[in-house]
């Protein structure tokens, strides 16, 4: 899966976890908690959803590396290799 696909997957799962977000208004550099108002429960649900979808288990120590959609796409692309 290339980075663009992973970006799209990330946004899709993000909106699933936070259904009141509008995918069209999420910016690549939005911080999940500060800008998109996710709480720790939402972040955990997102990580669980990504694990189900992609088989990538993101450890807690790596959460900072998925703090924005852009960073997350880079991170997931690296983990996919």
């Amino acid at each position: 899966m290339n980075r663009d696909t992973l970006y799209a997957v990330f946004i899709e799962e993000l909106v699933n976890v936070a259904p009141d977000l509008d995918a069209g208004t999420i910016n690549r550099d939005d911080q999940l908690q500060d800008d998109l108002e996710l709480d720790s429960m939402d972040v955990l649900n997102l990580v669980a959803a990504l694990h189900d979808r992609l088989g990538i288990d993101i450890p807690e120590d790596d959460y900072l590396q998925i703090e924005t959609p852009a960073k997350a796409a880079d991170y997931l692309a690296a983990r996919c290799k």
Binding site: D39, S40, N45, D57
Partner: protein
């Protein structure tokens, strides 16, 4: 109409999930009521047979109004036994209906004289799976003359979609006394159409989806809705919720003599333990610090009297179980604190699952009536990117609220050295009518003690 919280004065009936003749059991969800906190699933409080549905869909009814009559099984075993003649519609509903739509009193959905041959049992809500970012799916209902109940049940699926798609409308603020199907209401709210101005095509003048679609087509050039849904709307109304919070918190500050105390709790043990636990499990099985906070608070509330229960006109009544209200902040503003029953008896894994479930449903605006009222103490956790501490306001009729600040590294004295340790400020707001400072201090130190042995939680 049950009271679903100290701040609730009335509620709008938007959905029946049962019909006369259905057997119901305590805890079954029988109706959906719209409140300031979103759509709440109303659970029945006793076993029996539904005799009649007294409240009309769309009516806003005061707390205490009759929604339905429930008889015992023997009465229903004799179907020829007529229920008591129906009382007149509740005055409030009638008064509201009158100016908007004189006929609406007759538009009350009568129980179908010929109940549908298919048994409609109490359905568990089955959310239609929709792409979360999909807009309101305004699927037109076929315009066939189906029995009203069937129409209602079919329309139900229109409002069962996740909140991202189809909010149950209450923002329009008009037409609340007009008889209309939930689907029609949803579309009217989306289009900003006042239902009072729509002509209903059903017998008695009730408005169905097709009527609203016709009205929408006719007003295509009409001004935009007052609150254009820039984002997919939520299952609750932010302004109404703000008013509800204002009412409850004002009452709390007026009636409850609060006292407050804060205690700093070392979290290094708990942080290390949690990291070890979470390192070896899949994300779905990970625990959050918040679950430890809730468990420790619940256990402490069980041990120290005067903090867990309700204070009403008869004074303080302690609760033997700890139903932990968990404050959930909603995106865009607002707050709900649904209760997790018997949190003191759940394992951390069970508690975590319960918290995930209740948070998800709070966001979806789909909580249950028992969750809104059964809380005996409330816990608010400011999360991992918040501030050091918050002094909260008690949610009546409860007598205590515990707030956990954002855990962070702090300089702490251990023995005769200063160490950098994870720590959190825990603040208690308690009702002086039910406890005093000594009790409060014992409670906070008990929470501290429990959090030093996270493996035992």
């Amino acid at each position: 109409m049950p009271s679903l919280g100290a701040d609730m004065e009335d509620g709008k009936l938007v959905e029946w999930l049962v019909k006369p003749g259905d057997a119901v059991h305590r805890g079954d969800v029988v109706a959906v009521v719209e409140t300031q906190k979103g759509a709440i699933e109303i659970e029945i409080f006793e076993d029996g047979i539904v005799q009649s549905l007294e409240a009309e869909l769309g009516a806003t009814l005061p707390v205490g109004a009759t929604l339905a009559l429930i008889g015992d099984a023997t009465a229903a075993a004799a179907p020829e036994l007529k229920p008591e003649p129906k009382p007149a519609p509740p005055p409030v509903a009638a008064r509201q209906a009158a100016p908007a739509e004189p006929q609406s009193a007759e538009a009350k959905p009568e129980p179908d004289p010929q109940p549908a041959p298919v048994k409609v049992s109490v359905p568990e809500p089955q959310p239609v799976t929709v792409e979360a970012k999909a807009p309101l799916p305004a699927t037109p209902e076929p315009e066939t003359l189906r029995p009203k109940l069937a129409e209602t049940l079919a329309a139900r699926h229109e409002i069962e979609v996740p909140p991202s798609s189809a909010p149950i409308p209450l923002a329009t603020g008009t037409g609340s006394g007009v008889a209309a199907s939930p689907a029609a209401r949803a579309l009217a709210a989306e289009k900003g159409i006042d239902l009072a101005g729509v002509t209903g095509s059903w017998p008695g003048g009730a408005i169905v989806l097709a009527d609203v679609e016709r009205a929408a087509a006719g007003t295509a050039e009409a001004p935009a809705p007052r609150t254009p849904p820039a984002k997919p709307a939520r299952g609750f109304d932010v302004e109404a919720m703000r008013q509800g919070i204002a009412a409850a918190m004002t009452r709390s500050k007026r009636e409850i003599p609060h006292y407050y105390m804060t205690h700093e709790v070392d979290l290094q043990q708990a942080t290390d333990w949690l990291a070890r636990m979470n390192a070896n499990v899949a994300p779905a099985d990970r625990l959050l610090m918040g679950a430890l906070f809730v468990k420790a608070t619940a256990l402490a509330a069980k041990q120290v009297d005067g903090l867990n229960g309700h204070f009403d006109k008869d004074g303080f009544t302690r609760s033997e179980t700890v139903n932990a209200g968990v404050a959930v902040a909603l995106r865009g503003g607002g707050l709900v604190a649904p209760a997790i029953p018997a949190a003191d008896r759940l394992s951390l894994a069970e508690l975590m699952a319960a918290m995930r479930d209740v948070v998800a449903r709070a966001r979806a605006g789909r909580l249950r009536s028992s969750e809104m009222t059964s809380g005996t103490i409330t816990i608010s956790s400011l999360g991992d990117r918040g501030v050091d501490q918050m002094t909260g306001v008690i949610y009546p009729p409860q007598v205590a609220l515990v707030t956990f600040g954002t855990p962070r590294a702090m300089a702490r004295v251990l023995g005769d050295s200063i160490q950098i340790r994870q720590a959190v400020a825990v603040t208690l707001a308690a009702d002086h009518r039910a406890s005093d400072g000594r009790r409060g201090a014992r409670f906070l130190t008990e929470i501290d003690k429990l959090l030093q042995s996270p493996e035992a939680l």
